[in-house]
Amino acid sequence: MKIVIINYGAGNIKSIQFAFKRLGYDAILSNNPEEIEAADKVIFPGVGEASSAMSMLRTSGLDTLIPTLKQPVLGICLGMQLMCNSSEEGNTIGLGIFNTEVKRFNNTVKVPQMGWNTITNLKTDLFNGVKNREFMYCVHSFYAENCNQSIAVTNYGLDYASALQRDNFYGVQFHPEKSSTAGEQLLKNFIELK
């Protein structure tokens, strides 16, 4: 099993690597297109600001590579947001993998959302063994609008897509690598996806 975490300069990817290590897998950090294409599973992480993360992807040519990948790909947090059509953050055009838009929470709630929230309406094998209303750790100011590609929904002032899926592409808004045993179960499920 070759797991590659795309390393394009956005965010704390060590935690994701450590989470896989706890599960018994050595995940590799790479920005090399050949290495990414040859992986069995690809993690697309991201923390920080959308437009600068997107420009880092463009610089390395990863913006054209990622949508063509055939193996299971998991976007995490900003990674998932960049897989959407667009983001209000820095007026960013996304990779267009998920047919939805990323918007900022309005100020009826505290922004960023920070802490543990529940996920519901769970779909796909990504959530095998994860119970409805399980808690996941969230840290974000922007959210993906709920749509027909949602495979998990969370409420924070409104219902938003806390996980998305299209074909071999998956995305989660929360941080499975920081979400205790439930998060580890999700990462394990991802590794086991065909």
């Binding site: 965010g11 704390n12 060590k14 935690s15 450590f18 989470a19 290590k21 706890r22 923390v47 920080g48 600001e49 100020n107 505290k110 922004v111 960023p112 959302q113 920070m114 802490g115 543990w116 929230n117 529940t118 808690f135 750790y137 969230c138 840290v139 974000h140 100011s141 409420n155 924070y156 941080h175 690598e177 920081k178 979400s179 205790s180 045993t181 998060g183 580890e184």
Partner: protein, 251 residues
């Protein structure tokens, strides 16, 4: 629904927890990594590690500890103490810390908050504020509370938010160590005037104090040290009691 967070805080000196910890089933109560793992299992929502090492050697040991915690613990954690530059933060985040907490260095040079928020994102920037109420005014204090300033707590908190902090950790020096409850009036005012999460700190003694700080103090999270370290309050019992008081928690 987003839940209220319970955050144990560990003081670290030269890679070891200080102030002592009295946990059963712990091989080494001084080992922060062991302790962090225990807290994660017991239901803590996050952890805060405060580095009180005064030496360069102690600082290096701290980075080692951060790496080990990130490797072995599956909940988020914040590191504070002795952080005064973008470089300091870069090292900690690269070692696996989820957030950093800055205090005196932000007062001395407020631009640091902007720099950190721009480079690493607001979500990982916690600004800790120690304040003391003197003649009905809340004044910010520095260096672990030893140096008073003329800064007003609420004005400073507003500036901190505007500069891009993702969260505020407010410690009331009047309450800290008293075990008489949190400074709920000031907390509620912070929570109502700002739009970022507020962590209550200082004064935890009983389960009821936590209920009060979430209800009256409108805090988003509550931090405590000794009541957890000495097993006076078990996190699971605390959370069950909070739930019974209609406060949303992760159980």
């Amino acid at each position: 629904m987003l839940t209220k967070r319970i955050i144990p805080c560990l003081d670290i000196k030269n890679g070891r927890t200080v102030k002592g910890v009295n946990f059963v089933n712990l091989r080494d109560a001084g080992d922060p990594v062991e302790l962090a793992k225990q807290y994660a299992v017991k239901g803590a929502d996050e952890l805060v590690f405060l580095d009180i090492s005064a030496t360069l050697e102690g600082r290096k040991t701290m980075i080692d500890m951060v790496l080990q915690v990130a490797e072995q613990v599956n909940i988020p954690f914040t590191v504070g103490g002795g952080i005064s530059s973008v470089e300091d933060v870069d090292v900690l985040l690269k070692s696996g810390a989820d957030k950093v907490s800055i205090n005196s260095s932000a007062v001395k040079r407020p631009e640091l908050i902007n720099e950190l928020a721009n480079k690493f994102g607001s979500q990982c920037v916690v600004v800790a504020i120690d304040a003391k109420q003197i003649d009905s005014e809340w004044k910010v204090h520095l260096a672990g509370g030893s140096i008073p300033t003329n800064l007003d707590l609420f004005e400073w908190a507003k500036e901190v938010e505007q500069r891009g902090a993702g969260e505020i950790l407010f410690t009331s020096m009047n309450n800290d160590g008293t075990k008489n409850g949190f400074a709920n009036e000031a907390l509620a005012k912070l929570s109502e005037t700002l739009n970022i999460p507020i962590i209550a700190s200082g004064g935890a003694g009983t389960v009821q104090h936590f209920v009060d700080t979430f209800k009256e103090g409108k805090a988003d999270a509550a931090l405590a040290a000794s009541v957890f370290h000495f097993g006076e309050i078990a996190i699971k019992d605390l959370k069950e009691e909070l739930r019974d008081n209609n406060i949303e928690v992760r159980l």
